[in-house]
Symmetry: C2
Subunit: 207 residues, 2 copies
């Protein structure tokens, strides 16, 4: 029944490491940073505590592997979504971003950013990932057709502003959500942005 197809050491290793990282991401999202314990991660990954520490020197190492996994997956997903758009459309862009900020996996990222503020060890090691995150967002902004119509500093400010707004919205909505209003507001905002001087040059851009 339980076919154990004789995996190599490398396969076993990679498999359990992946299971641990996935479990850590899931736990961060569901229980938050403080309650993401090595015991809980191990339980979800289907390994023992000792097994976990065979592959990671400390809880923090697991956490950082999870952080980088989230970062990589989020950008891959967003780039894929952008590529699937037939024509550049500001509204679609914002909606795509919004879906990314509200994805369960992204909650893990928020947990870590907030925890890092008051945890020097975490902060020191998360900073490079946060820097990369920031850089990638700006780079994606530069690939948008919009970029041709706006000076770079203003483009960057607008892109970061929208990302920050969606981050703030996602974070605040977890405690006091307005399920109906929130979607309406996003659409309203897209109309306001699209109708303002900001984008009228760009939104008149041909496909």
């Amino acid at each position: 029944m339980t076919a154990t197809p004789r995996r190599t050491q490398a396969e076993r290793r990679e498999g359990t490491i992946a299971a641990i990282v996935d479990a850590a991401v899931e736990t961060l999202g569901e229980l938050g940073y403080a309650r993401t314990t090595t015991a809980e991660i191990a339980r979800r990954a289907g390994v023992s505590q000792g097994g976990l520490f065979r592959h990671f020197d400390s809880r923090l190492d697991v956490i950082l592997a999870a952080a980088d996994g989230v970062r990589a997956r989020q950008f891959a997903g967003f780039r894929e979504g952008l590529g699937a758009l037939e024509t550049f459309d500001l509204g679609e862009c914002v909606r795509l971003l919004r879906r990314a900020t509200r994805a369960p996996i992204n909650a893990a990222w928020y947990e870590l950013i907030i925890a890092a503020r008051t945890d020097p060890d975490l902060r020191e090691r998360l900073e490079p990932l946060a820097a990369r995150y920031h850089r990638e967002i700006i780079e994606i902004g530069h690939t948008l057709p919009l970029a041709a119509h706006l000076p770079t500093p203003e483009l960057d400010t607008i892109v970061l502003g929208i990302v920050h707004m969606l981050d703030g919205e996602a974070l605040m909505a977890t405690v006091h959500p307005h399920p109906e209003q929130e979607d309406v507001r996003v659409e309203q905002l897209v109309r306001i942005l699209g109708g303002g001087t900001l984008f009228d040059r760009a939104s008149a851009d041909p496909s």
Copy 2:
């Protein structure tokens, strides 16, 4: 030397409660939610652990008193700042809001909002405060001269959007700050907003 001017029971009570609440706010800001322990709060407040539990039934009760203290102080401060403006000015408004979101005391609020996402007990009790917070922001928006020139739903969307953006910026900046760029971006944004169609009617409003 140590003049003990015979305080009444009520005075002693209020005094230590205030000290505990202040210590809790400070600790939340400096150490984060998870490391805001009753022992640390008591130490900073200058009372024993037993003394703390004389006035609060649980850690959560202390935390919620701190949350409401922060909320009240933040709105009082912001309203005061708004009142001190001679003429309505969008830039000043945003700068005032930004100062509020980056005040050390506001970090305690963020800690609680984020912790509440994964802590059902905290969430249940924080929700009414978050709702009030939300309501007060919108009410303040309605007192702005801007309100006369925009339909209410759009005004609310814009106000919330700006608040969310500053929240997001404040939260993300703690891990990966760009001390110089951030101030520039805010000013840039104010110019962009002021120059867009959004506000041109309102920013032409006479003092």
